[in-house]
């Protein structure tokens, strides 16, 4: 009875403890944890090399509560003489010290054993010793992540993890990021990793807008799920790169897993942390313009006219300084029985384009408690995220203010159009004040930012709970569940005056959507350790089952307005009156629905011999609702791995502290998208029957990734140098591929399982504590990776050898997967050349028929944007209370396409067109159509209107994607405090994307127009990358 009463009190203890100077229980009695006559004991905790150790737990033996050492290794705790202080820290031997008369106790901890026992969080949240792992994982601490903050958590990982390629979306604040581990492998499916928080998967969904799917774009990046998180709540991130590491998560994890461990309350004294930061963003580069030639006439929007003497900097009038402020507070505390963590953070950011804003609030409450002599552990958390993004920039050719801005005639003052973008007295498109009138891809930039506003609002709840019960010393059972519920509201208002193709009635246009995405996950796992006393063998493992149910629902509405500029759904005109008289129709349509359920049972066994040989076997069977109506909805896949700690098997030279070799093979199955196995007709927007002419070529089945990796982990000179190397090879077969069937098949999209996409490569990390000890500490690490992707097969059995991820759609860009090529290949038009690669010129050189270059009749391979090799070099220096860190990273190889340059050339605003005119023409030494060598000087306007533009010779706009940059730098100073009020105060000055050591492309090749599979490596008036400078303050007390 008494016990159960205590249980109910625990939560209250935890929370009241945060505020009350004297903790009380709920009977309002003073609770005395400590003797009345206690003193404050202070000191510093260091490791055997003399480096300070932050985060060491200090408790008083036999008492509740405790504390932790701060970032400088300093601690203070109230204790009385005779108390035994226990210092414990993962990977180190605990140390007990009896308090004497002294008030300062400096402690040195020694590593647990000569083999550092690092604990790693693995699949399903299971903690395992690093040495027993048969595959590669990488960890990044929360501290490392929040050193130089970015509004999207994932951008802070860029350059820090080998084998991870991050491409941020060029879509301003609140944009998403494309995250690829060890190369893309799925032809039509998702290539991004699974995100898991504290063992259970979360969704990474954007809003109903999703991503752009053609270079016309016109929509906004819908954001992604992971960017919603508060970076300050993250304790650490573990990256499970291979299929092997992820085998237990199944389908969703075939592209790897990003495991996020969040902070939880710590037992000991209540602690309050506060961090505040402000970052200033400016564009990092501008396209290059010519300043010698103006427009052909006062009403034309080109720069092919006569010479000018004045120069204009229109970009300066448009781009603003972006400001990003983040404030976060967290409170944690509790006893050994129950801990509470509460945090609130606010991120407020304004982008470099006018009106682009992000406002995000995160609330997080986590409770952890133990019952029944610590046999039962209960953990629950509630996360609430509220995010609002205003005026996310449109990407692509449509509705993008940067087209009007960049293509504006040189030498003409743009400010009248900034000062007055609306001609209120007019009607329709004439309301927009723009030189030459608004056109589909060229409108007044300020009109677009002010009178084409969009808002995305997200409300997201993440509820999770877990119960774990230790049945016996060798068995525990855990049941977990979470619900991730996201509601997205989106609205776009187009005021009357937008170019007519976006609002044919010229009265304004409204589009709205609201979408709810719910993911429910539950699992039950039994963890066991088979008692084998006295044996050299140890066996442990788990067996469990899980269910994951995802559902998307919602409505969207779009329509021209009846009464001008009255933005109400009730004021929209029914879009398409029906074919039939009397059909009643609506502007409201359901968002693309989804209901997928995955059920699984899985098991894992780990067998070790003498603590130097480890064998891991896993198996998982999935049942997927998306494969119902076929006999293939149940599928099994295994993995097996082996590792040896060579340094324990043999006596190695003294310099080698630790040596491990490991290898693993895994298969992961993956299901197909929903609603493909039962083909049904639909309704057209006008109410007519629309036949569904799609068809599965054969019964669909799950796809399968087979992956193999071997690697080694080495540590030298008492762990001062570490090196890790992994070689991997994955083949993804039986992929679900939607193919454009030959039209004469009378099937529009054919579904089939085929394909073989191979990724192989290696990755390494080399780290060293170059300087360690007293004074200056310098830790450096280099991570590198190389990936080679090859499309071995698409669907050769069905004679299909290529598939387009982004179709041309009347432009000169295709993202195509072609057998023999690799993922992301860009196809475009090229200049016709002869066998000796000389440019073929049409015409005969006469005035009537001047020489003209010829465009290839079909699309040709022109480049691939994926880096051939990536390198990151991370450094941190500590000197007394100062810290300095910087990260240089390079992505080498690859090519990108700039349609921005192509359109700037066509309009005559680019630097290249100015140079050509100064030189009297574009000189080409080529051959005529009969093969005779000719030297031609081509009229610059003729040449650039031919090669330039959206449908021109895109092969002439390919640039090297190699970029080497100073990605992050931070300089910090920690106030040397030992006072009671403040535990630590740290200031830092930070910078992000500070400097390009090497960049040949006219834009940042890392930025992407879409974080989906297509549209990679093409710049279509992407918002320029920014350079950020910031200031941070971290206080804990």
């Amino acid at each position: 009875m008494k016990k159960s009463l205590q249980l109910t009190c625990l939560l209250l203890y935890a929370s009241t403890g945060l505020y009350a100077a004297t903790p009380k229980d709920h009977f309002n009695r003073a609770v005395s944890f400590h003797a009345a006559y206690q003193d404050v004991i202070k000191g510093t905790v260091k490791d055997e090399t003399g480096a300070t150790l932050p985060g060491v737990t200090i408790t008083i033996k036999g008492a509740q509560g405790g504390t932790q050492s701060n970032t400088s290794g300093q601690y203070s705790i109230a204790a009385k003489t005779g108390d035994v202080l226990v210092f414990s820290f993962i990977g180190y031997q605990s140390k007990e010290v009896t308090v004497g008369t002294q008030s300062t106790l400096d402690i040195t901890l020694t590593p647990d054993s000569k083999n550092l026992e690092t604990v790693v969080v693995t699949a399903l949240g299971v903690k395992r010793s690093e040495k027993s792992l048969t595959y590669n994982t990488q960890q990044v601490s929360g501290e490392e992540l929040s050193k130089v903050k970015s509004p999207n958590l994932m951008n802070s990982l860029n350059g820090k993890v080998a084998g991870l390629t991050i491409s941020p979306s060029a879509s301003g604040v609140g944009g998403s990021a494309k995250v690829i581990l060890r190369g893309s492998r799925s032809v039509s499916g998702n290539n991004q990793p699974l995100y898991v928080i504290d063992g259970v998967p979360i969704s990474n969904n954007g809003n109903a807008n999703g991503q752009q799917n053609s270079i016309f774009g016109g929509g906004q990046d819908g954001g992604d799920g992971i960017s919603n998180l508060n970076p300050d709540d993250v304790a650490s991130i573990t990256v499970l790169e291979g299929a092997s590491a992820a085998a237990l998560y199944g389908s969703q994890a075939q592209n790897g897993v990003i495991l996020i461990t969040t902070k939880q309350g710590k037992s000991g004294k209540a602690e309050i942390g506060f961090s505040s930061g402000v970052t200033i963003d400016n564009i990092a580069y501008e396209p290059k313009f010519q300043n010698s030639y103006g427009p052909a006439s006062a009403t034309t929007r080109d720069s092919w006219g006569s010479g000018i003497s004045n120069t204009t900097d229109n970009l300066k009038d448009f781009f603003k300084t972006g400001v990003n402020t983040s404030n976060a507070i967290n409170l944690s505390g509790g006893s050994e029985m129950a801990q509470t963590y509460f945090s609130y953070s606010n991120t407020y950011a304004s982008g470099i384009q006018p009106g682009n804003k992000l406002n995000r609030n995160n609330l997080n409450l986590r409770e952890t408690a133990k019952f029944f002599n610590n046999k039962l552990t209960v953990d629950g958390s509630v996360n609430y995220i509220n995010q609002k993004i205003n005026n996310s920039p449109s990407l692509g050719l449509y509705l993008n203010p940067l087209l009007g801005l960049y293509l504006f005639p040189r030498g003409v003052d743009i400010t009248p159009y900034k000062d007055q973008y609306l001609l209120a007295g007019n009607e329709g498109a004439a309301r927009q004040n723009w030189l030459g009138g608004p056109a589909d891809i060229n409108q007044n930039p300020w009109w677009l930012t002010n009178l084409n506003p969009n808002t995305s609002t997200r409300n997201r709840y993440l509820l999770s709970g877990s119960i774990k019960y230790d049945v016996a010393p060798w068995l525990n059972i855990q049941v977990r569940g979470n619900m991730d519920r996201t509601t997205d509201d989106y609205e776009n208002r187009r005021y009357a005056g937008i170019a007519t193709n976006f609002n044919s009635t010229a009265t304004g246009y409204l589009s709205q959507s609201n979408q709810t995405y719910v993911q429910k996950y539950a699992d039950a796992i039994a963890n066991f350790t088979i008692p084998m006393t006295g044996s050299d063998f140890k066996v442990n493992g788990l067996i469990g089952g899980s269910i994951n149910d995802q559902k998307t629902s919602g409505l969207s509405l779009a329509g021209n307005l009846s009464a001008t500029d009255f933005f109400s759904p009730a004021n929209t005109i029914v879009a398409q009156p029906g074919t039939f008289p009397g059909n009643t129709l609506t502007n409201v349509v359901p968002v693309i629905p989804n209901h997928s359920q995955l059920q699984a049972v899985f098991g894992n066994a780990n067998i070790s011999y003498k603590d130097w040989a480890f064998l891991t076997v896993t198996g998982r069977n999935d049942w997927s609702s998306n494969l119902s109506y076929t006999p293939n909805d149940s599928y099994f896949y295994p993995s097996v791995g082996l590792s040896f700690i060579v340094s324990q098997m043999f006596k190695l030279p003294e310099a080698i502290t630790y040596a491990k070799i490991r290898g693993t093979y895994a298969e992961v199955g993956n299901t197909v998208p929903p609603y493909l196995t039962f083909i049904q007709n639909t309704l057209k927007a006008d109410g007519a029957l629309l036949f569904n002419t799609n068809k599965a070529f054969r019964e669909l089945m799950p796809e399968r990734t087979k992956s193999f990796e071997i690697g080694t982990d080495l540590r030298f000179l008492s762990n001062r140098i570490n090196f890790s190397f992994t070689y991997y090879k994955t083949n993804t077969r039986n992929q679900y591929i939607p193919v454009i069937a030959p039209p004469s098949s009378l099937v529009s999209t054919g579904y089939l399982n085929a394909g073989n996409v191979q990724n192989k490569g290696f990755q390494f990390i080399l780290g060293a504590d170059v300087l360690k000890g007293q004074g200056l500490n310098w830790n450096t690490s280099i991570n590198g990776s190389l990936n080679r992707n090859k499309i071995i097969d698409i669907a050769s059995a069905d004679k299909i050898n290529s598939i387009d991820l982004t179709g041309a759609g009347n432009t000169s860009y295709i993202s195509r997967l072609q057998v023999g090529g690799s993922y992301g290949d860009i196809y475009g038009y090229t200049l016709q050349r002869d066998a000796q690669n000389r440019i073929i010129l049409g015409g005969d050189g006469s005035t009537a028929s001047p020489y003209v270059p010829l465009k290839s009749t079909d699309f040709n391979y022109i480049g691939n944007p994926n880096p051939k090799f990536q390198l990151g070099w991370n450094n941190s220096f500590n000197y007394k209370d100062f810290s300095l860190s910087f990260l240089v990273d390079g992505k080498f190889g690859g090519q990108v396409l700039s349609l921005t340059e192509a359109l700037m050339d066509e309009a005559g605003v680019s630097e290249a067109t100015g140079i050509a005119r100064n030189q009297g023409g574009v000189k080409i030494d080529g051959v005529d159509t009969k093969g005779n060598e000719v030297s031609a000087t081509i009229n610059p306007q003729s040449y650039y209107s031919f090669v330039g533009g959206r449908g021109g010779v895109s092969g002439e706009y390919i640039y090297s994607a190699t970029v080497v940059r100073l990605r992050e730098a931070a300089l910090g100073y920690t106030l040397p405090l030992t006072g009671k009020t403040f535990k630590s105060i740290k200031f830092s000055v930070t910078g992000r994307n500070l400097f390009y050591f090497y960049k040949k492309a006219p834009f940042d090749p890392e930025l992407t127009m879409s974080t989906g599979n297509g549209l990679s490596g093409v710049d279509v008036f992407n918002q320029p990358a920014t350079r950020s400078l910031g200031f941070n303050l971290n206080v804990s007390f």
Partner: protein
Amino acid sequence: MSAVLLASLMALNFGCTKNFEDFNTNPNSLSPSQSDALLKSAIGPIEQEIFHNYQIAQNLSADAFSGYMMAPNPFGGINNMNYSLNNGWNSAGFNDQYNYVMAPISKIGQSMVKTKSPEAWGISLLVQVMAMSRVTDKFGPIPYTTAGSSLVSTPYESQKAVYDAFFRHIDTAANNLQAYMTANPGKASFFGVGDLVYAGDPAKWLKLANSLRLRLAMRIVKADPSTAKLQGEKALSAPGGLLTTVADNAAVAQSGTRDNDLWVVTVAYDGDNALGAALQTYLVGYNDPRLPVYAKPATDPLFTGQYIGIRSGANTSFNGLGKAGYKTYSSLNSTDAAKSPIGQKAPQILMTAAEVWFLKAEAALRGWTGAGNAQTNYETGITTSLQQWNVTAGNYLADATSKQTAYADPKNAANNAAAVSTITIKWDPAATNEQNLERIITQKWLAIFPDGQEAWSEYRRTGYPKLFTVASNNSGGTINTQTQIRRLPYPSTEYGNGNKDEVHKAVALLGGPDNGGTRLWWDVDKANF
């Protein structure tokens, strides 16, 4: 304990998959019975799809090759109009009719319509023949009866086999419609008002079936004279008759927010399309009353108010002119939303009574039974066309002197061309068959505007009306400037997808290289008589 857990997990997994089919059924789609209930509504959108992707599927090829129109937009300078054939554009003319017409009609064929409403199946077949004849007349051999027989590689058929199948499908359609009219006098077809051509009127569909048979028969008159005569005479005597008056004209009405495709290309795309020099010089030379209906005067300050079109294949980027420099030339008239040939809401013409009268005029020249008198048919053709556009004939039929004029481009003299035709309007009983054929086809060409696809096919078959050659030829020698373009090459996707073996066999059936210079089966290089 763990055994219990395991057992409950097994129960969880094996017990719950029974809802999987329910989960995997798209809530926004129609059940098979809901689908059946809506079958009536399916035909209208399919009829509209005959014009799918109009700009690249027809306007930037047939409409220009027929001399009707020309794009002021240089589209990069090297393109279809100057015989550098753009694969991406031309693939639309091939793929879209399979994807958007034949594929859904095959679904109608699998539905209860085929058995329960055979007349509606007949209408569907006629829509299919109209769509697919446009494809074979662009490319030559195509998969037709074989379409849908394989998911991967579908055999092409010779153009003769395709035409034979067209005639068989017209047989089925005509028989089904006749039987329906006999059994249900005065009753509209199952499709009813969902049919955007005739609102389900079976009598009119039967007339269209017979007229279509006559059009296709005449097309093959040089390649297969006996079949042509057989099918032509069958059409001329067929029960139900032919399209005879303006009220019989077949055109697809616009519905909802859909706009006339030529209006979109010409007006909404801000001058991607304008009047062709050939049409201008005939209309102006003949003082044709249809001139102000078809075209509108130039707005260019240099020659405002005049009718000046653009010559086919003109280098519109000459001297930096580009679209801005040429879109001020004469364009097509779109003033009356419902009446102008390219009014925003104007129906899109499939076949007119005027065309049928000209077909009958030629049939009479060829001595086909039931064709009637050539002169009467010729003159009725002209007057029917003038009625169609609400203009009066005046002295037009009696004009024996007016001829096509020369063409002069005010901005680029390199495009100037002397008149290529001396044919006059007035019927001349004493003239040779060849001269009268030129007269018939020239007037037919003026009457069936803006149906560039039919006009280009008839130009290739007969050589009439005489058209200016392209101002610049960038075909790399594959297309002879004088004989002009004869077809479009197969889309490269056919060579890249599963059909690549079949398309190579198709080139053998074609009997020449797969380029724009090779003549189709019905395009026989010999005299018309």
